[in-house]
Every structure is written in C-alpha cells, then in structure tokens.
C-alpha cells in the first residue's frame, strides 16, 4: 500500500514554521561545505570554529556581542523601515554619517562629563543619520522616486565624504594616516566587562531594539506604520496618511543606523577610519530578513550573524580559510531563508 504525499497550498502547521530557521541554517551549512572543502578544510572542523569555538570561553562570548553590536543597530533600523514598506538600503551611509558626527563631537566636547558627553554623542549620531536619510525620503514622498536606488547611491556619497575628511582636514597630524584624531576619553563608551572589548554600545543596541518594538507594537504611529507595510490600499481607505508615515519611518530608520556609527567610533576604534564599517548596513538587511521583520527576531539574527563573523576569524586563523567565508555564509543564509519562508504556505497532505 503506497501512500503518496502532495504539497498543497495551505498554511503549514505551526511547529514546522517554527523550525524553518533551523532548517535554513542546516541547508546553508550543507551548501557552504562545498566551499570549505574547496578551500582545503574539513567542514565539520570549520563549523566547530564557526559556531562552537567562540562560545567556549567568556572572552569569546563577549567578543561575539561586540561584533553583534553594530548589526543589532542596523538590523533594527532596517526592520522598522521594511516593516513599514520603506526599502531603506542606505543604512551603510547613515551609519557613516553617525560616525562622522561622533568623530567630530568626540573631539569638541571638552570639559563635558562622561555621561552627558556620551548622551550628546548618541544624539548627534542619531540626528546625523536622520539627515542622511532625509533626501531619499523627501524624494520618495514628494516626487515618488524609488528609495532603493537613492538610498544606495547615498551610501557611496557618504563613503567619499568620509574619505575626503580623512585625507583632508581630519588627517591625523601625528601619524599622517587617514584617520581622525582620537576622541576624548570622556566621550569613549565605557567597557562593560573589562578586559573584554564589550562596551556600552551593546546596551544602546538592546535599547534600540526595545524602542523599535515598543513603537511598532505599542504606539499609534507604529500601528499606522505596520498597516502601510502590510496593506497600503486598505490603510489608505481607513484614512492613514501614507506619505507622512513613510517619511517618519525613513527618518527614524536613518537615525538608528547613525547610532551604529557612533558605537563603532566611540566604542571600538575611538577615531574615524575609512573602513569603520565592512558592510554593517547591508548585513543589517540580512538580519532584518532573517528575523522576519520582527525586532527581537532581528536581534537574534544579528547575534547569530555576529557569531558567524567572530567564528570566521577563528576559522581563518586555525584552518587557513579566507575570512570572506563568513560573508559567504551570511549571504547564503539570507537566500536560503528567503526560499524556505515560502514553505510556510504549503503543507504535505496524504493522497490516497
């Protein structure tokens, strides 16, 4: 007696939907095993270094949190944007704007006590990020210009702007390297558990996630944002002002991405450099998508991506595999997860 199964278009059972992320991780690692083998290493060893090794020591775990900090922020920024239907791909540029603000404020807040200084840094970074998001937002709301391309292009303008600063007026006079002068000690983020690098920025990240969650699920503004993202036509019928809502979303998103820039300057590097972000803005998009546009899901995804990031350095050190493998894994995970989310719409049914 043969029982056939058919894939039927009907919502999948809840237990299945819950394990989809796990399935995606497994499939991702299967696929990336191929690359690991090509690089001449053993996949199982590699996964050990990727996922387990960083978690085996306290220092390792704290380092994962360090690496996750900017991702938590950019992930949150992208989450609130995407949840409202605003495709903010410009988190990278907005991050740099915040970093510039932090680097500048960090050298000018002389005499300001540390708690106030840090607060001002964060505020300044938020505003800078908001300003960087302003032009694409206005173009979208007033002229209906697609925000995907404009936010992307602004990323490159930001990079050039930073480069101009670092090679020009902000070049370190002492070493002559393209890095800004060090910020004041009073503006540096305090370390949470010395000697680990983990700094106050992590707390900022968590607070940002909680704030996003609060806005989206507990405020009128957030409800309007979600309605625009989930059903623009119905939202319009019910009287929601679409343009205004998107505009506010774009600015908040930019501001939070700007905070990521502040945490990197004030928490890790203590000055501005060209390479302050190896693509955190884009990885934030991965985090938001993996987290299914849920603030806490996005945070969990950011932590996981931070783990992979940390692990990739361990993999490189121990097995000689290029660190880019970490980026490959993250990108593969994104695509696999995208595909697997579709499975939420199907169930297996028994067919006689």
């Amino acid at each position: 007696m043969k029982i056939n199964y058919r894939l039927v278009r009907s919502p999948a059972p809840a237990w299945f939907s819950a394990i989809i992320p796990l399935l995606a991780i497994v499939v991702t690692f299967l696929i990336t095993s191929v690359f690991i083998i090509i690089a001449g290493a053993n996949p199982f060893e590699a996964y050990y270094y990727f996922l387990i090794s960083p978690l085996t020591s306290k220092i390792g775990i704290l380092e994962v949190l360090v690496k996750s900090t900017p991702l938590i922020l950019t992930g949150a920024a992208v989450t609130i944007a995407f949840a409202s239907g605003y495709w903010n791909i410009g988190a990278e540029g907005q991050l740099y704007a915040g970093a510039v603000a932090a680097a500048w404020l960090g050298t000018t807040l002389i005499g300001v006590p540390q708690p106030a200084a840090i607060l001002i840094m964060l505020l300044g970074g938020f505003i800078a990020g908001m300003l960087w998001a302003l032009i694409p937002a206005i173009l979208k709301v007033k002229l209906s210009v697609d925000e995907v391309v404009t936010t992307l292009l602004m990323n490159y303008v930001a990079l050039f702007f930073v480069s101009a600063l670092l090679n020009g007026p902000w070049r370190d006079p002492v070493s002559n390297w393209p890095q800004s002068p060090d910020i004041l000690a009073s503006t540096m983020m305090p370390k949470l558990f010395p000697p680990s690098r983990l700094h106050f920025g992590f707390i900022v990240g968590v607070l940002a996630v909680v704030t996003i969650w609060f806005i989206l699920s507990r405020t009128g503004l957030g409800m309007r944002m979600r309605s625009v993202g989930m059903g623009q036509e119905a939202a319009r019928f019910m009287g929601v002002k679409i343009g205004r809502t998107m505009f506010i979303t774009a600015l908040i998103s930019g501001g939070i991405a700007g905070l990521a820039g502040v945490t990197e300057v004030a928490g890790i590097h203590f000055h501005l450099i060209d390479a302050i972000s190896p693509g955190y803005g884009y990885t934030g998009i991965i985090a938001a998508t993996l987290g299914n546009l849920n603030p806490f899901g996005s945070m969990a995804a950011s932590l996981f991506l931070g783990l992979i990031s940390t692990g990739s350095q361990a993999v490189s050190r121990s097995l000689g595999v290029p660190t880019f493998l970490g980026d490959v894994v993250q990108a593969t995970l994104l695509l696999v997860t995208l595909a697997m989310f579709l499975l939420r719409n199907y169930t297996l049914r028994k067919v006689e």
Binding site: R218, T219, G220, M223, S227, M230, F237, G239, K241
Partner: protein
Amino acid sequence: MDAVQMVGITKQFGPLIANNKVDFELKKGEVHALLGENGAGKTTLMRVLYGLYKPDSGEIRVNEKPVQIYSPKDAIANGIGMVSQHFTLVPTLTVAENVVLGFNPGMRLNPNLVNKFVDDAAKKFGIEIKSSTLVRHLSVGERQRVEILKALYRNISVLIMDEPTAVLVPQEVDVLFATLNRLRESGLSVIFISHKLNEVMTISDRITVLRDGKCIGTVNKNDTNERALARMMVGRDTFGVQRDSEPCSGKPLLKVQNVSAMDKKGLLALKDVSLEVCEGEILGVAGVSGNGQAELAGVLSGTLKPETGNILLGELDLIGLDPQSISKAGVGRIPEDRHTGVVGDMTVAENLALERLDDFLKKGILDRKKIKDHAEAMIKEYQIKATPSIQTRKLSGGNMQKVILARALYTQPRMIIAAQPTRGLDIGATEYVRNKLIEQRDRGAAVLLISEDLEEVRSLSDRIAVIYEGRIVGILNCNEATDEVLGLMMSGAKEVVNEN
C-alpha cells in the same frame, strides 16, 4: 448544421450551481444572444465552451462531432475564440504586435509583413484600425476590435463575446454591430453575452435566456419583444417586505449634485449624477455591475476625486476631503471589496481600531485594554466568529464583512454608504447584514445601498435609483418599482424622468 452544441452542461462551484443541465445550440452563421442577469450563469457557460472551466457533466459538440475542450488552446484548435470583458492586450505594444503575440512562426518579427497582414484582415472585416498604432492610444472600442482581430488571426469560426457593449459608448456600439454583421456575412457564428435588452433585440437572430443557472428558453428575435424577454430574465415572485412608508419623510441629508467622474482607465464612468438620500430612509442604487457603481462608491468614500459636481452632507462639502475626514464627518463606509477594506495580516482588534485610531491612544501610546475591550464588544454585538487577536485574513467572508460593519457603524454615523455589502456571503451573513442596515435606517440614519443584487435592493429600499452607463435613469418609490420596470431600466430600455 449546428456550429456548436452544448448538451446538459452542469457546473458547480461548491454549493453554488452555476449551470444546471443547460442545453445550448449555435447555428452556423447566426448571431445568438445569451441573455440573463448577473449570476445567471452566462459567463460560466461560455467559459466552459472556451476551455477555462471543465464541466461536471455534459457534452460539447463542434460541427456535430463531440470534442474535449480542456484549455483555451483546445478551444482555438476547434475554431472557437473568445473576447472577454477584461482585454488581454499589452498597452505598450502595437496593434499588430498584440495580434501576433504568441502566434507568430519563426524567430523574426518583420513589422512590414505583420502590419500588412493585420491591415488586410482589418480591411476584409471592415474594421477600421491601423496596425502600427500603439494599443495604449486606442479607445476602448478600438481595443475591442483588436481583440476580435486576434481571434480572427487564429482562424476561428465561432466568436464568443462577453458583455462587449459594457464598456462602449453608443457610437462605438454601432461600429461593433456593423463589424459583427460583416463577420456573420462571411460565415462566422457569434455568441453575444449581454444583459441589455435593446441591443440584444438589434443584433441577434436568436436569443437564449438563462436564469439562476437554468436555461429558460430559446426564441427567435422576431417572435419576441423586450417586455417578454425582461419577464423571462427576471420573472420571479417578489418576496421581501413591500414597504408602505412615505418616500423621503425625513430631511434630505446627502445631496449628490451633477457629479461626473472618471474610472481607472480614464473613461467617464459617472455622468452628471444627482440624487438625494433622506434621514431615516434607504435609497437603493440598482444596476448591473460595471455601470458606474464602483465609481459612485469611490466618490462618496473619498477614494476617487470627481471631475465636477458637489457632494453635500448637510452643509459640509465632501469633495476633496480625505477618507479619514469623511469618516469623522459621520459617514460610515462599507467598501465594495472587503479584501482591500481590511489589512489582512493585522488582527481583528487592530482593524476595528485603525479607522478611528486617535480614540484609542493615550498620548500616542496604544490603549491596548481599550482596543481589546472595544473588539470584544464589537464581536459580541455583531456576532463575529473571531477572537480579537486573530489575523483578519483568516476569517470567513461573512465574518470579515461583520468586522467592516462594526467598524463603520459603531460610531453611530448619520450617513452610511454600503457598496455590495452582501457580495459573496452565505445566507446567514447576508440576512445579518441586511437586518443591520434596516436597523440603522430605523435609527434615523441615511443609508445609500449600492447593490447588484436586485432582490436585495427591492426588499430593503424605500426608494430605488437605477444606474445605467453612468447615469441615473430613474428614481422610483418602492411600490412603483416592479421587477418589469426595473428590468427595463437596468437594461437601458426605459428611462423615468423625475421631478425630484
């Protein structure tokens, strides 16, 4: 010889029997009209013939040989073509490109060859169209003729036209009929689906009437008249309460004055519409779908801006107001398509609160208890089979409509606009919605009911307006509005001039 025979066709969709053992035959070289109201089963029958639906039982014969038609490709192979109400044309391509799309042999697309062929075919059938024109620049009538050319290019001998005049102005109708006559002369057979009596009487040789899925009969044009056809189309006993109330005993609350509006395609869909709705009455707007009802609802809801005219609610002019302001002015709106009236992925409670969100906020923060309590109260009052936290798209059609009702009515609006409120609902939900509307009327609200269901309009309304091709062709008191008169008005055959 019969070009096409359909014998004993039955087609069921769940509990709805769309075609009930229908027999239909088409003689070669005739224009045969398929007449009936909305939901009579005409389109279903033809979709079976064209291979879009598979009948549950019955047989199709082409040139007296039984055939299996499982897809439009099969239909075309058997020489049957269909021009449906929704044109399948690509606006940015030329006429010729649209005609040959998917049916041009080889790799190359030689515009000269293709244009010449299409021009020749057009000339042969007297269709005035230039093959190199972009479809985007064509009028609706011209686009329809491109659809006919498409079918002719595929060598069909039977042409089905589904409500072809629904989108045409009178002059274009004349051109279409001339074209159909020429097609008939060259040996083609035409099936003409319609609900418009005068046109059917003009163009057809024979007429088959369907009602509630059954074939009522087939007559020769010369043996019948519009009155008789109307009776066949609509003829059922009127049930529902005969209202004795005085027409418009309250004050006029809503005054629509000379409103004209365009539809999404840029055509004039409302032409100088004027009507009034009094407090404490239900004004029903009857008409076959596609005659401007959607645009009327849109204009009154604030989602469509009219070209001319005024809409006064008491002293307030509603024109130019956004949906939220109209709602706050005391207008409860029930949209035509409930799926774009709620945000499906949001919960029932959220959808109930969203329209008047400010009432549920405390300094910008959601008062979740208030939202939940409100939702529970609405669920109880409107008997919605749902919990506050369930996603709205998971609700049945009837319950979704109840959510929309609750949202529209809980603020005790003085004006209610209800567009197709019971479309697609089961009997229980339908009864519920109708009773709610009567309740509101008795409360003193002014209710404008737009519905394609004639029975519904008749049993609920105090006065009935009939809309045809974007114009109000008459407003009657309920005791004057017999089925016959309404049928004639809805088909454009009669107009009642009021002193209102």
